[in-house]
Symmetry: C2
Subunit: 257 residues, 2 copies
Amino acid sequence: MQQHTNHLGLSHTDRPPERHRLVQKLQSITDLTAGERQALLDLPMAVRSYTKGEDLVREGDVPSECCLILDGFAFRYKLLPDGRRQILSFHTPGDLPDLQSLHIQTLDHSVGVMMPTMAAFIPHKSMRDLTERFPGLLHAFWRDTLIDAAIFREWMIGLGRRDAHERIAHLICEMLLRFRGVGLAPDDTFKMPVTQADVADALGLSNVHVNRVLMDLRRERLITWSNLTITILRWEELQKRALFEANYLHQVSKVAA
Amino acid sequence: MQQHTNHLGLSHTDRPPERHRLVQKLQSITDLTAGERQALLDLPMAVRSYTKGEDLVREGDVPSECCLILDGFAFRYKLLPDGRRQILSFHTPGDLPDLQSLHIQTLDHSVGVMMPTMAAFIPHKSMRDLTERFPGLLHAFWRDTLIDAAIFREWMIGLGRRDAHERIAHLICEMLLRFRGVGLAPDDTFKMPVTQADVADALGLSNVHVNRVLMDLRRERLITWSNLTITILRWEELQKRALFEANYLHQVSKVAA
DNA sequence: CGCAATATTGACCATCATCAATTGGCGTGG
DNA sequence: CCACGCCAATTGATGATGGTCAATATTGCG
């Protein structure tokens, strides 16, 4: 996830090797038949590259395609008129952060990237054809939407009822499991390409306070976080600090192929 | 919505007249064919009544049926180990607050009621048969899930980045539009059967602070709120106070039949 | 080597939580 | 019909978590 070969900003239009990420992702939440897998690989997609600070889509857009993260790291967010920002979710390769655009005309949030990221755009029409030919995939996408919503709910609990230490510890726990789920967290270490200010906007805190709490967690030898790289030192203790319960991730604890 | 005829706790098993609420709700977010409407009305459902404080389902349950609010007022919530509570959403008649159980085995939150409420339970098997026979309904349910998630996102912004006055004003704006959408807010007045403590748990505040902010909003003559009844006095001003933008509700501004 | 973005620290302050009464509304039993 | 009791609303006093502002270090990188 952390490195990829092409981020020159060029726009290709064909079969990037990373397209298997989508299969991998869906397979992590449901079973797919060979035919469904092939159909996913055959989806037409236009690939584009982005760098830190660019948006894949913006609030207010009326997209005619869905975007798929092939490589990199993206996030959904929304701005208030005066500039306050709330980050709604983080997305790793294989995710479809605006799947909702299939059914909801105008986008109610933006999708940006935190690092050089490659995204593929799949026409809505192709998605509709696909789900018509393969009802199993329709269920897979619906299931994905439902898990997405479950994660929103857990974040709401954090924003509404957890204190700063719990929130930050909780986010770290969640990201560890999500990266583990796609085989990207060997030795309880993973790359988290976000700044402390980003974390602040995700958790409803100020950057300054995030910094202070991180110092605490480091002092307590629960984690290490530098160079965009996080290492969990004491997993049990960290979960306790976060009041973390993994069930909401609905992971089908099976290692991605 | 505020009154209903039977809340003796009896369990019927047949065709309550309120079952049309489901049709009404789905029709408010998509178009249905006559066949689809009839199929919805023919769904088998077991009706049960609940009173304030009772739960329809609990976190950890593995339901084999979906619940449908026929009459009354329900909410989804989750508790932290030490008793802190976060309310995740409010639900009016026609809503299916645990639709997700169709695809996600174990429930990650509870559903409770705020007032005498009648709910119908529809076996998952019936739902699956239904969506198999009527793919249009499958899309309708998916769309419902997506709108649900859109509301979660808006609440996340409130919890993370709005101050107490904005949050409360925003909730009032949202509920007005939702009640209006089902024809239950004549004269910008509607019944909101929640206590100030409930509002606090929905917005991540303390009951005391909710009270103080409500006093402010009343002093400013923006609203009236007593006896579980809210009246909006100055709609434009209230929206401004809340930084409210209705788009996220994705309402198809058409009056329910 | 020097910029520019992040991270870190300190000082001060505001919003909102907590704790503790007190008041008010309303249903129920006598 | 009225008193009691309970739940919710209201108010006051006090304090803590976390925000804001402003420097000062670091670190990554061209």
